[in-house]
């Protein structure tokens, strides 16, 4: 029977990958993908813990909520990027460097 | 049994500020004059309270030497016991009177301010409230609030109505004083949390002076040295003392005439008053340490000589008068530092005398500036021919500042010199050396004042100032009281100043020595 640790390590890897994607990609939507990675790492953690007897069912319900949150966030983020695209005609987030100093 | 006289004196100018903001434009000057006059008349009301007491018994001891004490609980929550407490004693009362007089005269002097007079007179009255508050507050927190309250109006008064480099001068003034007041805030915190007056923390300046209220201070020597130095820096910026004085010449040169009258006449006294009200009574053993007395004494003497020397080399008339203020305030510091009875009396008298003479001198310079629109001494000359009456008054003012016997400058200097000669705190010879160096300043002062009088007033009449009008009635109205005060204080110093002042000063000295 698989232990808990492999799942946690996998979620740690997913976390790091997510952060890496967010930082390295210049396309706004790619960054969103990175965020999804981090959130998935979180849900994986939750589910893994609840299934290995820690905290019973609440872990899985929490995972559900996290997924819903991710969805909501993605909706708003995409709406903003669409607007961003409409005004600056590119999705390269680095173009947006008027606000600085 | 609050008598509300002091509170009314303090807040009458604030009321004036309110009315000035709403009154129609042509009435602004009159309302301002009305309120400053009202404040002056009210401050005369304090006089009977002090005249009654016979000289010796005045102010049985420092604690209950205070009169007209108004006490109102202001903030009693969360362990704070701050109350609005104002009162006046020997050293407070003369300064309150000086404030109201100088502000009244400055208000008359600022009659021809053209640039947005409403803002000017509002800030002017706010400044007066701040000053009156500083000289009467008996609660450290209230003292700090009024101390900072004077900062804002002065910044804008110099900044908006000043001369060409006014912004630089204003920000420099603001910064130096704020640096000082930040240090004072730390000391205030320290006092508050280290004090236990019957178990409770207190800000009350009187309670803080009773021995035992600051227990931690009695044991740790380092603690009261640190506090004393921080407080000293806060007050040294205001006096101003040697390393922190660079803001004064700039502020004076750029400030409009009536404002530099108040700046020199009153704001410099806040430093000296602070030393006498807070540093010396609350930290007596710090003041009695020989090293501290030495440093303050030496700095005082440096101030005197350095101020006189710089004044000798100036070409801008107003800067010359500013440096002369530094030199005169050096006497105040020397008088206080050497812990002699005569020294204290001399310092206090010098503060009042310098208030009068410096206000007079700045007004005189202002009168010239209004007529010829420049203050460059080499270009001036031969005014005695065009403006004889003005020259007469100017001679009176400048010679009073020079310390001519029979005028007020002399009494302050002679007290400090004779007093500091007998000081024991610096060992047998130390005080004598300092006094000799300070005595030399008598020659330097005579030097720069006579030289500037000669270059500005004497000499042949210059065609450039042909049509220069004589001194106007209004200007005489300002100079006359100052001249009369200079003579009165010079001839009868005991009756005019010392009866009120010496009682309290003796008790402060008893606390320290």
């Amino acid at each position: 029977m698989m232990g808990l640790t492999p799942y946690l390590i996998l979620s740690a890897i997913l976390l790091v990958l997510g952060i890496a994607i967010v930082i390295s990609k210049r396309n706004a939507i790619a960054m969103l993908i990175g965020v999804e990675f981090i959130l998935n790492a979180a849900t994986l953690n939750l589910v893994a813990f609840s299934r290995h007897g820690i905290g019973g069912l609440s872990g899985q319900t929490a995972a559900l909520f996290v997924i819903v949150l991710a969805a909501a966030e993605a909706v708003v983020a995409l709406a903003i990027f669409l607007n961003f695209y409409h005004t600056i005609a590119t999705v390269d987030i680095d173009q947006g460097d008027q606000l600085k100093g | 049994m609050n008598s509300w006289l002091l509170t009314s004196i303090i807040f009458v100018p604030l009321l004036g500020m309110g009315t000035v903001l709403v009154v129609p434009p042509h009435l602004i000057r009159r309302t301002a004059l009305l309120f400053t006059l009202l404040a002056f008349l009210l401050s005369l009301g304090i006089l009977p309270h002090f005249l009654g007491t016979p000289i010796q018994v005045f102010g049985a001891d420092y604690q209950n030497g205070f009169k007209l004490v108004d006490r109102l609980p202001w903030i009693h929550s969360g362990g704070f016991a701050i109350d609005y407490m104002v009162g006046v004693d020997g050293i407070g009362f003369p300064l309150v009177l000086l404030t109201t007089v100088i502000c009244l005269l400055a208000c008359i002097a600022s009659w021809n301010i053209t640039k947005s007079p409403r803002g000017y007179f509002a800030l002017f009255l706010l400044l007066e409230t701040g000053l009156l508050g500083v000289f009467t507050a008996l609660d450290f927190f209230l003292f700090y609030v009024f101390w900072e309250l004077t900062l804002l109006p002065m910044y804008f008064l110099i900044g908006i109505w000043g001369g060409p480099r006014r912004e630089y001068a204003a920000i420099k003034f603001f910064l130096y004083t704020l640096l000082g007041s930040v240090l004072m805030l730390i000391v205030m915190l320290w006092f508050f949390f280290a004090s236990n007056d019957q178990g409770a923390h207190t800000f009350n300046l009187i309670r803080l002076t009773t021995p035992g209220v600051l227990p931690a201070f009695a044991t740790h020597k380092a603690m009261w040295i640190a506090c004393f130095t921080m407080l000293y820096i806060a007050f040294a910026v205001k006096i101003p003392v040697f390393p922190f004085h660079t803001w004064l010449p700039d502020a004076h040169v750029e400030a409009p005439t009536p404002i530099s009258m108040i700046l020199a006449g009153l704001l410099l006294k806040m430093g000296g008053y602070g030393l006498l009200r807070i540093s010396y009574p609350i930290l007596p053993h710090a003041a009695a340490v020989q090293a501290v007395a030495w440093t303050l004494g030496i700095l005082g003497v440096i101030n005197i000589i350095y101020g006189a020397l710089c004044a000798l080399a100036q070409t801008d008339f107003k800067k010359l008068v500013a440096y002369s203020s530094i030199s005169h305030m050096g006497f105040v510091l020397l008088g206080i530092a050497l812990l002699t009875q005569a020294g204290f009396q001399g310092a206090m008298f010098q503060m009042i005398a310098h208030g009068i003479t410096s206000a007079a001198m700045f007004f005189l310079v202002g009168v010239i500036y209004d007529r010829v629109h420049h203050r460059d001494i080499p270009r001036l000359g031969g005014l005695a021919v065009q403006m004889p009456i003005y020259t007469g008054l100017a001679i009176l003012g400048f010679f009073a500042a020079m310390g001519l016997p029979g005028l007020c400058g002399f009494i302050g200097e002679i007290y400090v010199l004779l007093g500091s000669w007998q000081a024991q705190v610096l060992g047998p010879v130390g005080a004598k050396v300092l006094t000799v160096i300070a005595a030399v300043s008598v020659v330097l002062t005579a030097g720069y004042i006579l030289w500037s009088v000669q270059r500005v007033f004497l000499g042949a009449a210059k065609p450039e100032y042909e049509g220069v009008p004589e001194i106007s009635g209004r200007e005489i109205l300002v100079m006359a009281p100052l001249g009369a005060l200079a003579i009165a204080l010079g001839v009868l110093p005991w009756q005019t100043v010392f009866t009120f002042v010496s009682g309290t000063l003796d008790h402060i000295l008893k606390l320290v020595a």
Binding site: G3, A12, L44, L78, A79, D92 | -
Partner: protein, 176 residues
């Protein structure tokens, strides 16, 4: 034993998807790799016995969010998006930070002692439903309001310009 094999298979797939996204430059390919990762994680949930969560994962994540992303990609990349290469410095710095984080996490994970009790019995959807409306009733209600507001904001932003103004696409034009 079979279980371990399936786990490593799915975990490998997820990690591969991540790495692929890291390396690829075209946004479209990234979107597809994201979908594979999501499916892999869904599979893991099934493996763990959290069937309901797995299904939700597939339904909401893959069906909803991923599709949304693809739409986003389609809409915003009308002209061929330039190959976006991250700078040299960033990659090095990234690797360093990533490694440090990973090392810290794995070390602390190994270090903590878990209550290693038995795998909880595969629970039915009913129990999740009960906990949803029991312990998590508060969040449940709150999420509904959250979704309402999110949808409102997104709809507002995504609404095309009111036709009366006419097309104004030049950069920097402002609609008062």
């Amino acid at each position: 034993m079979l279980e371990a094999v399936i786990f490593f298979l799915l975990a490998g797939l997820a990690v591969a998807a991540g790495v692929a996204i890291l390396l690829s430059t075209s946004i479209v390919r990234m979107a597809y790799w994201l979908i594979t990762m999501l499916i892999a994680v869904g599979g893991l949930y099934f493996l763990l016995g959290a069937y309901f969560v797995g299904v939700i994962q597939i339904l909401v994540y893959v069906g909803g969010v991923a599709v949304l992303l693809v739409f986003g990609v389609m809409l915003t990349s009308r002209q061929l998006a330039p190959k976006l290469r991250p700078g040299r410095g960033e990659v090095v710095w990234l690797a360093l930070v990533g490694f440090v984080l990973l090392e810290a996490l794995t070390l602390s994970i190994l270090h903590t002692r878990w209550q290693q009790n038995a795998m909880a019995p595969a629970n039915s959807v009913g129990e999740i439903g009960r906990s949803l409306l029991g312990e998590f009733l508060g969040p449940f209600e709150l999420v509904s309001v959250l979704l309402l507001v999110a949808m409102l904001g997104a709809a507002y932003l995504a609404r095309p310009k009111v036709p009366t103004q006419g097309p104004q696409h030049a950069k920097g034009t402002t609609v008062p």
